[in-house]
Amino acid sequence: MVDITSADSLASGNIVIDGTVGECFSDNAKMSMRNVDVFYAEKQAIHDVSFDLEKNQVTALIGPSGCGKSTFLRCMNRMNDIIPICRVTGSLEIDGDDIYHKKMDPVLLRARVGMVFQKPNPFPKSIYDNVAYGPKIHGLATNKAELDEIVVTSLKKAGLFNEVKDRLDEPGTGLSGGQQQRLCIARTIAVSPEVILMDEPASALDPIATAVIEELIDELKEKYTIAIVTHSMQQAARVSQKTAYFHLGQLVEMGDTKQIFTNPRHQLTENYITGRFG
């Protein structure tokens, strides 16, 4: 008989999480989070997390299921606002602006901090309209020609243009999964955000589509600051420069991706990346 033990007990057994180890802070921070706690009603999902998101870098948030990495990501553009029982304390700043300040408009914030979701979720509209929607609502284009240009540039940046240039008026939902996800990325880029948050963007895709997305992420970091939540450690290793390891709502370790994967400092990180649980 196999002794079935939960990941939690296997992982934390006797190992104590005592604050974060590694380098969490940067001199070139785009976003900085300090002492962030997140609660769902009474249950605390994030415990005292502090780190910086470095400009024009890809930061990977890894950790076992239920460790709070997606929750944390969604706090960074206030997507958690739509969950009434969710409460966030601590400070989250983008370029020094407090995200949770009373005067911070979530509409403006989400235009600055875009998001790509786990499951491709194009609108049930044409490919063109999918990309044009963001610029339209924010009034980024003054005329049709400008809007056309934004749509084409965004699709090109997302590496989708050549595949869809002849069928821009066809529904976005008719594309393949990988194409849909790139459409969602194009849609996010069209608003010209400063930060792009990606919540397991390739988890619903096949390996080839995943490779295309990963390549794309690598290119995008030239212009955008990216935070990506992923379950795949290989993916984290491939696309990110920084890695943050979350465990049970706590940030256990953060540092350069190379260092984390070759020479983790914390026992939990080592257990996770060597595949002993997760």
């Binding site: 509409v107 235009a111 998001m115 979701f117 049930p124 609502i137 996010t188």
Partner: protein
């Protein structure tokens, strides 16, 4: 590692056991299938029987017997002197004389009265209209076609369809009708007036146009009020309202409202809309408001369910791009929920279309001959008209009742078809 199944039963035994149960499973599947099929067949048969019954009973209403009358338009008969208005001549006398001339053998006062009864009471106006339309027929004799009285009309129709009439008319009357038929004085025509004229006490003159117009106006008011209100309420409750005790109470009350007997809404309309706000009685406006109250819960419940069914990922996508809540609700959630909302609306509207009880309370049951021109004119609606006709003793109304039901069903069909068309358009987008 050991396989727990193997330790309990040997492999061959497992297959045997599954086979044993398999028969039972197939049998229950078969039983369920046959139940479903039976239910469907019974349902179809009932609908078919209903439609067959209505249509077969309604058919006579679409025809009407007309009778040729030799009218003597002499100035003496009409009491006409030069320069008189053609409006106020003695048409009744002229009509009587024409009838008596046709049956010179009728002498007694009683029989003469019976003879007059063969013709529709509006024959007098028919010969008047004829003269006004053709003033040069003055001082000539003309054949004018007038409607046969409803009892005689039904008598002839029943002879035609059944061979033996069910309706009893007087033997002398039957004799007169026979002679008219033999002399080719009677003609059966398509009864276009059924669709173009309004209600009447005389079955041969009664039509559905007044009630149909009333129904259209009432439905229009209902739709204009209940659709935006219902959808707005549903969107607000689903997308904007905080989920707390108050919204729970509102939800429970909306569900309760859907189950309130419709006549209560009629009482409310009478007490509040007519007596307090002073809106006119019998008006489609008031009827529409009352039916809106009745339809709203249905639309709200269906719309909420449909909005709830929109995948949250669509909302996240829009919000994630920086769309405001209103933009998200109206440009993404609502279009995706629209097919379901339309289904709910059509169910609510169909209920409202067939509703009689609340409209009785606000006076839409009155006998109204004029065709309503606006939502504040007195009017009645199709189901009330059907109720009124079904309640009338005259045999002629029997067919009219069924025919009115057919018109109502036709209206319902058109309404549903347009909703289905709209729904398909939203679904294809």
């Amino acid at each position: 590692m050991t396989n727990s199944v193997d330790t309990v039963l040997p492999r061959s035994e497992v297959t045997e056991r599954i086979k044993l149960g398999l028969k039972k499973r197939h049998r229950s599947e078969l039983i369920f299938k046959s139940f479903g099929l039976t239910a469907l067949t019974v349902g179809f048969l009932l609908v078919f029987f209903l439609l067959f019954d209505i249509i077969s009973k309604a058919l006579p209403a679409f025809h009407q017997h007309w009778v040729k009358l030799e009218v003597d338009y002499s100035a003496a008969n009409l009491g006409y002197t030069d320069g008189d208005s053609l409006d106020k001549l003695s048409y009744r006398g002229t009509l009587r004389k024409s009838i008596y001339n046709q049956f010179p053998e009728v002498k007694s006062r009683k029989d003469k009265r019976k003879l007059n009864g063969l013709y529709s009471s509006n024959a007098e106006f028919a010969i008047k209209d004829y003269l006004i339309a053709n003033p040069d027929v003055l001082n000539t004799e003309q054949y004018v076609w007038v409607r046969l009285d409803d009892d005689v009309d039904v008598y002839l129709k029943e002879i035609e369809s059944l061979g033996e009439p069910l309706i009893r008319i007087d033997a002398t009357e039957a004799q007169w009708v026979k002679s008219l038929v033999e002399n080719d004085y009677i003609e059966k025509r398509f009864n276009i007036e059924f669709f173009t004229s309004s209600d009447s006490r005389e079955p041969e003159l009664a039509g559905v146009r007044g009630a149909l117009t009333g129904t259209m106006l009432t439905m229009l008011v209902t739709l204009i009020l209940s659709f935006p209100l219902g959808v707005a309420a549903a969107v607000y409750l689903e997308e904007f309202a905080p989920k707390n005790r108050w919204t729970d109470i509102i939800e429970v009350n909306i569900n309760n409202l859907a189950a309130v007997p419709s006549i209560i809404f009629g009482l409310l309309g009478l007490a509040v809309i007519i007596n307090v706000f002073g809106l006119p009685r019998s008006a489609p406006l008031v009827g529409g408001i009352v039916l809106t109250l009745m339809t709203l819960p249905t639309i709200i419940i269906a719309s909420r369910a449909s909005i709830k069914a929109v995948p949250p990922s669509i909302r996240e996508a829009a919000l994630g791009l920086g769309a405001s809540k209103v933009q998200t609700a109206f440009s993404h959630v609502l279009p995706m929920a629209m097919p379901g909302i339309l289904t709910g609306t059509i169910i609510g509207m169909a209920q409202a279309l067939g509703e009689t009880a609340p409209l009785l309370m606000i006076g839409m049951v009155a006998f109204i001959v004029d065709i309503p021109a606006s939502v504040t004119d007195a009017a009645t609606v199709m189901p009330v008209q059907i109720f009124l006709w079904a309640d009338s003793p005259e045999r002629g109304f029997l067919a009219k009742t069924s025919a009115a039901i057919m018109v109502l069903l036709g209206f319902l069909f058109i309404m549903n078809a347009s909703a289905a068309y709209l729904r398909r358009r939203f679904e294809s987008n």
